[in-house]
């Protein structure tokens, strides 16, 4: 029987069956099958007999198929590192398939596992790679740590389109940003001068909106070389562009504009008092044309001019050295003199933060708890300040939460101890709840015992109990991981 006979026969059979033998008769079976149907059958019996035959013929005559036209992927090269075995493999499987802890903690523990694997030069067992990739698809933190522990086999799987893990969108990435802007942003981070040059070249072709957006990108890797373009932007006809330019120039204390601001500020400051223990500050006069260009608002047509706002702008733009030159003291003592002037301190904080002037930041921290200031400090120093604040009794502990979240983990024992004290105290539950995401992983292993003790205390606050329990669980599991990799 040829396949063509078979096809024609099956077609006829299918048609007869579909419309019914009331309207269509059965085909004759192909001669090649060597079958002669018995005489005297009804049409239905003929069709059913042949269907039975077709069923057996088709199933008994299957031939191997041709492989789909796709190119065969090259086999994976052998792995260079040994796979994690025994308890380490078992714990990973547990985390991936039936996590014994909350999902947030699970993700962190998977990240820990990957890190420990890297340190002990082990890799994820092959059979667990799909589950690992599935998790990494939705959890950026896991995705970032996949290398090198996924090993050669993992990289091979990623190279296959089927199993490749799409990079999750970075949280906080600007939506709808134009390609050109993204391009310039990338260039600015690698080659600041080239980026500036490109922006200057295209400057006149850009819309006001685009000029403002792209000029703002200079914030990355800014230096005195950028001043020229920024000065040019001060003359821009669009207010939005001028505002970006003044904001950026505030960060350059050595710029011409800073010099002009210094000239405006200096006459306003007077050292007074018997022991020169006071700085009197005058309000600035109405701005001239040059001052308006530098961003100081001119008189409005109606109402009083906001002279304090003008002072703020001058303070933010002028070099901080103006203040030390007037007081004849260092920054710390100068700040001490300015304690009674909260609005001036605000301006100084803004200036110090935008210039990342550590000396002034430390000085200002002695009189103000400000998260912006703390945020500029090196991690270790920031932790000391935080600990100090907490130990000295802080009014608004919740303001620390964003800083604590950003802190490098694990925290030092001192900070952990101070914070646990705060959490254990009255009204500590709310703080615990707000730190629920970070606390379990941020506490150092040595703090686990303290958490356990606090947990054993009778406690009505469910949020606090949960956070402490999470911390204890995390540390215990983390301990098992560490031991498994030894």
């Amino acid at each position: 029987m040829t396949w063509l006979d078979e096809l024609t026969w099956l077609d006829g059979l299918r048609t007869a069956a579909l419309v019914g033998t009331g309207r269509h008769s059965a085909p004759s079976p192909p001669a090649g099958l060597g079958v002669r149907p018995p005489e005297g059958l009804s049409r239905e019996e003929e069709v059913l007999d042949q269907a039975a035959m077709a069923d057996v013929v088709i199933r008994a005559s299957r031939r191997p198929a041709q492989a789909p036209a796709a190119t065969l992927p090259l086999p994976a090269s052998p792995d260079t590192e040994p796979q994690a075995a025994g308890e380490a493999a078992r714990l990973l499987e547990l985390l991936l398939t039936q996590p014994p802890v909350g999902l947030e903690l699970r993700n962190q523990l998977v990240v820990d596992w990957l890190q420990l694997a890297e340190e002990s030069r082990r890799r994820v067992p092959h059979r667990l790679l799909p589950a690992m990739f599935a998790l990494a698809e939705t959890k950026a933190a896991v995705f970032k740590r996949l290398e090198p522990a996924i090993g050669t086999r993992g990289r091979w799987l990623q190279s296959l389109s089927k199993t490749s893990v799409p990079k999750p969108a970075d949280e906080g990435a600007e939506l709808g940003s134009e390609d050109a802007r993204a391009d310039l942003e990338r260039l600015r981070s690698t080659d600041p001068a080239a980026a500036r040059k490109r922006l200057a070249t295209h400057w006149d072709d850009l819309s006001a909106r685009e000029r403002a957006h792209q000029l703002a990108l200079l914030a990355t890797n800014m230096g005195s070389d950028d001043e020229e373009l920024l000065e040019r932007a001060l003359d821009d006809k669009a207010k939005s562009v001028r505002e970006v330019a003044t904001g950026l120039l505030d960060r350059l204390p050595g710029s011409l504009r800073a010099g002009r601001m210094s000239a405006r500020l200096l006459p306003l400051l007077h050292l007074k008092g018997l022991l020169n223990k006071r700085i009197d500050i005058d309000l600035p006069p109405d701005p001239d044309e040059q001052a308006v260009r530098d961003g100081i608002p001119s008189n409005q047509r109606s109402g009083e001019p906001d002279r304090l706002a003008r002072l703020d702008i001058i303070i933010r733009g002028a070099p901080l050295e103006v203040w030390t030159s007037v007081s004849g003291r260092g920054p710390a003592s100068t700040v001490e003199l300015l304690k009674p002037e909260p609005r001036v301190l605000d301006g100084l904080i803004t200036a110090a933060v935008s210039r990342k002037d550590l000396e002034w930041i430390r000085a200002l921290l002695t009189v103000r708890t400000d998260v912006r200031l703390l945020g500029c400090l090196p991690a270790g120093e920031r932790e000391q300040w935080l600990e100090g604040y907490i130990r000295n009794g802080i009014d608004q502990p919740l303001t620390l939460v964003p800083l604590l979240r950003d802190l490098h983990q694990p925290w030092g024992l001192g900070l952990a101890d101070a914070l646990l004290g705060l959490i254990a105290g009255k009204n500590g539950g709310q703080l615990a709840a707000m730190l629920a995401q970070v606390l379990p992983t941020a506490l150092p292993p040595e703090a686990a015992e303290q958490c356990r003790r606090l947990l054993e205390r009778s406690d009505e606050d469910p949020a606090r109990r949960r956070v402490l329990r999470d911390a204890v669980q995390y540390q215990a599991f983390r301990q098992s991981l560490t031991e498994a990799f030894q």
Partner: protein
């Protein structure tokens, strides 16, 4: 049997009031013809009626009988008699048992032996059994004839018309098959309802299955001409279960049995577990476990395990269904599943299996040196550049385990596609 203590009698009372009433009757006055032996205590108690109540008590396997109409059990008469007997005030040992007590004891003994017989599964009556079998076959004959008529109706009105029928129409057909003791066919018809609504190639699927069902009705009608093996396959296809007790003693094939692979399925109503095993002489069998919803299936055997166990096969053509006939003990793990075959050879095996039993549509195959291709739902490619599509395949896992290298794969060949159950990687048998 010793005499009961009064305390024991009191403990047998169903409640306080029965006991109080019994105490009033526990005097020799109303009692006559009382007596006892090692097993029985009996007596007659004159109540308010004309004839005295006849009381009998089996003191060995405590049981009570009284002709009074009381619904308390034991009644006050039985308790009173026992109290008297316990005190030694009546029912002295007697050589002759009262007729009524003897009769009651006789009935009890008969019932007990009948129960024992049923329990041990002894053929109580070959004649009755043959009658039951004939009745069942007549019922199935009628069901098969009805089903054949339904098939001709289906073909006369056309498959297109059947496709527009609701699920209830198919369920009706299935229900009639169940009533005719053909649950295997009923299950196939019920499955067809969703296949017809869900498959793109539904017309061919239904046509070919209608042909298969039609052939099954013919095979049933001609069952007297079939070999025992062929008839067993037909029985399995229509759903005539073979009792495990009938298989248990037939043989005890010794191990070690190698677990080739296992598959679990759950169609919402029934969970099934198929475990494929290969014996030392190469015989391949499948162990089937079933569990209803909410029940637990038997613990799965680890793929690659060598089991020290004896096995008995159900009747039918190979690969046969089988059952364990001894406790399962593991003898360790195999590092490979042995030599496999090419894709062409696997398809030939399936052809041969279809020739043996056209009712079966699943064939276990062990393929050697095949590569996983991630196209579509996955493909296998062997050394001769022949390919076989996969079904129900965990592709990510297969690729991760094999890394694109050729491996041995064990699976179920079904409908021209392979359901992979086990792969052999780095001297280990693993389930993907």
């Amino acid at each position: 049997m010793g005499r009961w203590s009064e305390e024991r009698v009191i403990n047998a009372a169903p409640d306080e009031s029965s006991l109080a009433a019994a105490r009033k009757l526990a005097r020799p006055g109303p009692w006559s013809d009382s007596g006892s032996n090692d097993v029985l205590v009996w007596g007659k108690c004159q109540g308010s009626g004309k004839t005295p109540y006849q009381v009998s008590v089996d003191i060995v396997a405590p049981a009570y009988r009284c002709s009074c109409p009381s619904r308390k059990f034991p009644c006050k008469h039985a308790l009173a008699l026992l109290l008297l007997w316990a005190r030694g005030e009546a029912a002295e040992a007697s050589a002759e048992t009262a007729d009524f007590a003897q009769e009651w004891a006789g009935q009890r003994a008969e019932r007990a032996t009948a129960k024992d017989r049923r329990k041990s599964g002894e053929a109580s009556d070959p004649e009755a059994q043959a009658k039951r079998l004939a009745e069942r076959q007549a019922l199935m004959d009628a069901g098969i004839a009805d089903f054949a008529r339904w098939l001709t109706d289906l073909i006369r009105t056309g498959l297109a018309a059947a496709r527009s029928q609701p699920y209830s129409w198919w369920d009706g057909v299935a229900a009639r098959l169940v009533d005719s003791q053909l649950p295997g066919l009923a299950e196939q018809v019920r499955t067809m309802a969703s296949e017809v609504h869900g498959r793109t190639d539904w017309a061919d699927h239904l046509l070919l299955h209608a042909g298969r069902w039609w052939a099954l009705t013919k095979a049933w009608a001609a069952r007297d001409t079939l070999s025992a093996e062929e008839f067993a396959d037909v029985k399995a296809a229509v759903g005539w279960a073979t009792a495990s007790a009938d298989v248990n003693d037939t043989e005890a094939l010794p191990g070690p049995w190698l677990v080739l692979g296992a598959h679990r399925s759950d169609d919402g109503r029934l969970q099934q577990q198929r475990t494929w095993l290969r014996g030392p002489d190469g015989t391949v069998v499948v162990i089937l476990d079933f569990a209803g919803q909410g029940q637990g299936l038997a613990t799965p055997q680890l793929a690659g395990a060598l089991l020290d166990v004896t096995v008995a096969r159900y009747p039918g053509s190979p690969p046969q269904r089988a059952m364990f006939t001894s406790a399962v003990a593991s003898q360790g793990l195999a590092t490979s599943l042995g030599p496999g075959c090419t894709i062409a050879q696997a398809l030939e095996q399936q052809s041969a299996a279809v020739a043996r039993s056209p009712w079966r549509d699943r064939q276990p195959v062990l393929l050697a040196g095949v590569t996983i291709l991630p196209e579509d739902h996955g493909w296998l490619l062997d050394g001769n550049d022949n390919a076989l599509p996969l079904m129900d395949a965990p592709l990510d896992s297969l690729l991760a385990l094999t890394g694109g290298h050729p491996v041995d794969v064990f699976g179920e060949l079904e409908d021209g596609r392979l359901r992979p159950l086990t792969v052999v990687v780095d001297d280990a048998v693993v389930t993907p």
